[in-house]
């Protein structure tokens, strides 16, 4: 099992009257609500948390890309990834993911990721995403060409990383006379590509074809398993291989405390903040027309009951399935849920919503001390590139 330290870098001061006043914290929540002086402190704390995750032995620290919203304040994930290249020593730097079709020129992603890979000593995991529906409002991009642009951008970036330049690319959506990316990435043939996704059928098929690790975030387990089974079935039937746990990730909020009652009480307000003020996205914003295929939309609605995104905290906490509890409970449920999902990559969100820094650090410390040492060792993850072996670092206790 690989342990990834997930982070969204949310804005923790969305006003209390949010649900009465605004439709969503995406796209239209006024940026006048952002206080840069507070932001200076908050970014610093988040970076400290990610650095700490490396120190206590997480296999990877994660960043992601979201624009014009209070859910996650990393519109430029490569900026944070570059900082982490300096602040961390051993963990992989998982960019989950760059919105490769969200820019005029996908080669800017190829350049930036190559830079971070070289500077970090070959530690980048290069996730590629199309960007969720909201980004198409924020960036003024036509959602109906999203998939086509994504596939072409991917092909262009891979070619730029693996074939000698300069070469010409005359595609449907991108045209460049001279493709000649300096620097070239350190890892061979290129940094591993991961595929964070919301479950569109076409993306699953594409990821299975390329054997890209596939990750759905904050999706109920029973829904997630259906999509992962689709990947596994396609891998076996169409592409002739068995898709093992190293190709699947499961994400969950994690909060450990000395007893379950304390854990639930301490985590609840931050989960509610996350669910009600961060995560709620109306269907029109999450699924603009043409963003995915009609068949995928139908499956999405049938699986979740809506085309929007909503998170039911009370049901979740009542289910006894959350990773919110004592170290023993969290460890046991984590292993069980990873087994159910058939996943080998666990992505833990230890900072949730408006959870303050000291709480996060205690949470991570307790997890590292009392849960990590008892989790299964390194799974059959894709082999790390040539660099110093980190050994069984999780057996060392944290400081």
């Amino acid at each position: 099992m690989k342990l990834f330290f997930f982070h969204l870098m949310p804005w923790p001061f969305i006003p209390d009257d949010f649900q009465k006043t605004w439709r969503s914290s995406w796209v239209v929540l006024p940026n006048s609500l952002y206080d840069p002086a507070i932001g200076h402190r908050v970014y610093g704390e988040y970076l400290d948390q990610l650095q700490f995750a490396d120190e206590v032995g997480f296999d990877a620290v994660c960043v992601n890309e979201h624009h014009q919203n209070a859910y996650g304040t990393m519109p430029a994930p490569n900026i944070i990834a570059a900082m982490l290249a300096q602040r961390t020593k051993r963990a992989q730097i998982a960019i989950l993911g760059n919105g490769i079709c969200l820019r005029e020129n996908p080669l800017r992603v190829a350049e930036e990721v190559a830079m971070i890979d070289v500077i970090s000593g070959g530690r980048v995991i290069s996730g590629f995403v199309r960007g969720i529906g909201c980004e198409y409002y924020s960036l003024g991009l036509d959602p109906t060409f999203s998939r086509e642009r994504f596939f072409e951008a991917h092909d262009l970036i891979i070619k730029a990383w693996t074939e000698p330049g300069p070469f010409e690319w005359d595609g449907e959506h991108y045209r460049f006379r001279y493709v000649n990316v300096w620097p070239r990435p350190l890892q061979k043939p290129h940094p591993p590509i991961y595929c964070p996704s919301q479950g569109s059928t076409e993306t699953i098929a594409w990821a299975a074809e390329h054997r890209y690790p596939y990750i759905m975030t904050f999706t109920p387990l029973d829904v997630l398993v259906r999509f992962y089974d689709m990947y596994r079935e396609l891998a076996a039937r169409k592409f002739g291989y068995e898709a093992g746990p190293e190709l699947f990730g499961w994400t969950s909020q994690v909060y450990v405390a000395k007893d379950e009652k304390t854990a639930l009480a301490e985590a609840r307000p931050h989960l509610k903040y996350f669910a009600e003020r961060c995560f709620a996205i109306p269907p029109q914003m999450l699924m603009p027309p043409g963003y995915t295929s009609a068949a995928s939309l139908r499956r999405f609605i049938e699986a979740r009951g809506t085309a929007g995104s909503f998170f039911d905290v009370d049901n979740l906490l009542a289910s006894g399935e959350t990773l919110i509890g004592t170290p023993e409970q969290v460890g046991e449920r984590l292993v069980r849920n990873m087994g159910r999902a058939g996943a080998g990559i666990f992505m833990g969100a230890f900072q949730v919503g408006d959870m303050p820094h000291d709480k996060v650090m205690r949470n991570v410390e307790l997890f590292a001390d009392k849960v990590m040492p008892y989790l299964p060792g390194a799974s059959a993850a894709p082999p790390r590139p040539e660099q110093a072996s980190t050994g069984s670092k999780r057996m060392e206790t944290s400081k």
């Binding site: 027309p289 043409g290 139908r298």
Partner: protein, 268 residues
């Protein structure tokens, strides 16, 4: 009036087309909503014209091909359509988004039509940006399209809930292809002088999507065009006031028939 559906082949593209009525040919280019249905508007027109109501690519379950990138791509597709139905100089009516396509068609091929009717037409850049209907929840969007929201029932999906949602969403994708990045063609205003065909611009007095002022401007900019206001209607004039609109169009068509023939050649 009986009407029928034919699937007309237009250079490999299957175009489901509602056809009904009798008399001079009329090609009706629909807007974003209500495609593929025979409304009172069609029925009224069919008493006077042979109505051809094709579906734009992406509507009614038809595919949205990659070659559909701009409204002018559909305008040229309709040049082929008019040829395919062997209509001799039809009256061309464009509603809303269909009005954008009709304007582009008239810019390039005024010679193919006997007259042009633009009802609540998109296409030319408006003074004030049009509201973003895509981001709104449906009840809010309806307020921009209808003076009387109850009339919007006609546009609500029929049949099973998920099927209806998916079908509407697919059709909205065709609308998004043309309007998401820019809901107008920045070149179109300066091209309006190429429209050389008798033109009627009709607008709903309560249109909250694009104001009647925009319609008046179009009528000023298109040589010889006239303007009529249907005061009580919102943006979706053909659904809100079908009889008034159909009758206005019929009067306009009568006027063209009575007008002296235009001399050939450039009149500027």
């Amino acid at each position: 009036m009986n009407h029928r559906e034919e699937r007309i082949d237009v250079r490999g593209c299957t175009v489901p087309t509602l056809i009904g009525g009798g008399g001079p040919a009329l090609v009706l280019l629909h807007g974003a909503g209500g495609a593929g249905q025979w409304f009172e508007f069609h029925e009224r027109l069919a008493q006077r014209f042979t109505v051809y109501a094709p579906l734009h690519p992406g509507f009614g379950g038809t595919p949205l091909p990659s070659w559909v990138k701009e409204a002018e791509d559909l305008a040229l597709h309709y040049v082929d359509f008019i040829r395919a139905i062997a209509a001799d100089k039809p009256l061309v009516i464009g509603l809303s988004l269909g009005g954008w396509i009709a304007t582009e068609l008239a810019v390039f091929r005024s010679d193919l039509m006997s007259g042009l009717v633009l009802a609540g037409a998109l296409g030319v850049r408006p003074e004030r940006p049009t509201p973003d209907l895509f981001i709104m929840d449906p009840m809010e969007a309806v307020g921009y399209l209808f003076a009387d929201p109850a009339k919007a029932i006609a546009l609500m999906p029929q049949g099973a809930a998920v099927d209806g949602i998916v079908r509407m969403w697919e059709e909205q994708a065709a609308v998004a292809r043309l309007t998401w990045r820019r809901p107008y063609n920045p070149q179109l205003h300066r091209r309006l002088h190429h429209v050389r065909v008798p033109t009627l611009v009709v607008w709903g007095g309560k249109d909250r999507l694009i104001s009647p002022e925009h319609g008046r401007m179009l009528a000023r900019e298109i040589k010889g065009a006239c303007f009529e206001l249907i005061e009580s209607s919102g943006h979706a004039v053909a659904i809100e006031q079908p009889t008034m609109l159909a009758d206005t169009i019929a009067r306009f068509a009568d006027g063209i028939a009575l007008a002296p023939p235009q001399p050939a050649g450039d009149r500027r």
